[in-house]
């Protein structure tokens, strides 16, 4: 996967636009040209709370083009509620871009699996793939049709969009991973972002289809920059992404905890030992 070059900085971003795409799902657009110019697919920012009272929040970068970057998130608690209260014209500090994103070079046929607001991390890799001439199928699942936000955007970008809802209100009734598993044309590569149970299912399906999969993981972050080792996931030590760690002694486990915020958030499914 792409090597990390520290192009991160703190961006004093102006809120340009704010939309509620569905109940509880907020899209915030920022004027942040310096952030846009260095963002790669699958990276995130730490949004520094205006009140200074709570930990910063990790948010996948949804769009990055021209002067404008955007983030999309579900309001789940006090930290996201504070961000959701931002209005056009407000400023917020964004630290980023951070993390190790998706590798999309030389992929000709990709399946992207997104669950819920996991969609926020997959537009940029989809755009890059399409720009490179790849076929991109988006497998997009959510609890209900109204939570399948911005799906037309992906169609208009050139993705083939397949959807599933838990309540059957649109597309397949059930999990989106069922749709992926039933494909007759396995892709060359799978990219996925969503809840952990979905990612585990994607890893299993990728293994059955004999296809490499890159998973963008979600974990509770402390610092978000690799300083605290709070957001780790077990990874085989032989992975290129494994942090610097000595080999296991005799009979020891050859697993090392890697930081989701630094070595990840995107990992190869076959290298995870979770």
């Amino acid at each position: 996967m792409a090597t990390i070059v520290s192009s991160a900085a703190i961006h004093h971003a102006l809120v340009l636009d704010r939309q509620e795409l569905a109940p509880g799902i907020v899209l915030l657009g920022f004027d942040a040209p310096a952030l846009v110019s260095v963002t790669r697919p699958g990276q995130f920012v730490m949004a520094i709370p205006p009140s200074g009272e709570r930990a910063a929040t990790a948010l996948g970068i949804y769009e990055a083009s021209g002067n404008r970057a955007s983030v999309m998130f579900f309001v789940v608690g006090k930290r996201t509620a504070e961000l959701a209260a931002l209005q056009i014209g407000d400023h917020i500090k964004l630290a980023g871009p951070l993390g190790h994103g998706f590798t999309v070079e030389n992929v000709r046929d990709a399946a992207i699996v997104a669950g819920g607001v996991g969609i926020a991390s997959v537009l940029l890799p989809a755009q890059t793939l399409l720009r490179n001439g790849a076929r991109v199928r988006l497998y997009y699942g959510a609890r209900s049709a109204e939570l399948l936000v911005d799906r037309d955007r992906f169609t208009s970008e050139g993705c083939e969009v397949l959807v599933a809802t838990d309540d059957g209100s649109l597309g397949h009734s059930g999990y989106i991973t069922d749709v992926l598993a039933a494909t007759h044309e396995p892709p060359e590569m799978i990219l996925a972002c969503g809840p952990t149970p979905m990612l585990r299912a994607v890893a299993r399906i990728a293994d059955e289809l004999n296809v490499a999969a890159q998973l963008s993981l979600e974990e509770t972050f402390g610092c978000g920059v690799g300083g605290c080792w709070g957001c780790v996931v077990p990874l085989v030590r032989s992975s290129d992404q494994a942090p610097s760690f000595p080999p296991a002694h005799r009979n020891g486990s050859d697993v090392v905890y890697a930081r989701v915020c630094k070595e990840g958030p995107v990992f190869w499914a076959h290298e995870l030992r979770w």
Partner: protein
């Protein structure tokens, strides 16, 4: 020493001469490099590295972090590659830091501390040592040293015997009488005390009927523990003559001032860096403003100034005992 618009914020901790009285707490700040894109490391006093042990440690199972009201619980479990690997692959990178670099030593026996401390302190890249006798997240052994004055003394004497570099001993709040531990550390040769490490805590998921942390228990940090830490600094300052690095939930300049007034000569910022990595820089600027407004030329003039003892001057007979 560097002046900040005429105000001297410099402080000496043992042989460590710092331009600023701000440490970045161990385990919160990586090796400093992680935060370099967001803050000028030349504008902090010292970074305290993540603790290293004799042997490699995978660390605790996940989840390792839980956000809690006004703070967070963590149970990282001293994940580190062990001293051999650390010296060979990591330490050389610290030479380029524009701030002081404090190595942190953890262990499971007196001998561990002496062995790791000696080897770490022998490196030029390491300016001072913090002796972490108070990690609450490693089985039962980790914190035992900080909970027993006798063991505290043994560990500190053992490390002291191996190096002349500044030794900062990190104390636990999870004790009955922190002052007695502090006195023992001082008598054993500590140059300074870091007060406090995290407070033991726990959080339970009521849907899954399980502890939220993989390690079951964790260490609480953040604003939630600040009053506990201020009192600990106050008590320790009355018990010892060596300088104190006050820490525990410092987020603002006002918070920092509480620690200085309680008796700390320097402060350490940990969890607040997870809110905004620019907080340490803001605090030194505002400390300088605070001192200038009061026509005080240096920080040393306010250290311990809130020390009024513990007595209540207005008492009836029944108030005693």
């Amino acid at each position: 020493m560097v002046d900040l618009r005429g105000i001297d914020l410099g402080v000496n901790i043992g042989k460590l001469e710092l331009n600023y009285p701000t440490f970045m707490g161990s385990g919160c700040y990586g090796s400093g490099e992680e935060f370099a894109p967001f803050i000028d490391l030349a504008r902090i006093g010292a970074v305290v590295l993540k603790s290293v042990t004799r042997l490699p440690r995978l660390g605790n199972p996940t989840p390792r972090l839980v956000h809690t009201p006004a703070g967070m619980l963590n149970a990282i479990g001293l994940q580190n590659p062990g001293i051999d690997w650390y010296l060979e692959h990591e330490v050389a990178k610290f030479a380029s830091r524009p701030c002081a670099v404090v190595g942190s030593v953890a262990g499971f026996s007196v001998d561990d501390y002496a062995y790791v401390g000696e080897r770490l302190a022998a490196r030029d890249e390491i300016d001072a040592l913090e002796v972490n006798i108070s990690c609450p997240n490693v089985a039962s052994e980790g914190e035992t040293f900080a909970c027993d004055p006798n063991l505290t003394g043994k560990v500190v004497r053992a490390v002291r015997a191996t190096t002349d570099k500044t030794l900062i001993v990190k104390l636990s709040p999870n004790v009955t009488d922190i002052a007695s531990i502090a006195r023992e550390a001082e008598a054993a040769g500590a140059d300074a005390l870091a007060v406090i490490n995290t407070v033991r805590g726990m959080s339970i998921d009521v849907d899954r009927w399980q502890p939220r942390l993989g390690n079951v228990t964790g260490g609480l940090s953040g604003a939630a523990i600040r009053p506990i830490a201020v009192l600990a600094v106050y008590e320790v300052a009355r018990a010892v003559k060596i300088p104190i690095v006050g820490q525990g939930g410092i987020e603002t300049t006002s918070d920092a001032l509480e620690f200085f007034l309680a008796g700390a000569s320097a402060i350490s910022i940990g969890t607040a860096n997870f809110t905004d990595p620019q907080i340490p820089e803001r605090i030194i600027e505002e400390l300088a403003q605070y001192l200038r407004l009061r026509n005080l030329g240096s920080l040393a003039k306010i250290v311990g100034k809130a020390n009024v003892g513990f007595s209540n001057p207005y008492q009836y007979e029944g108030d005693e005992g």
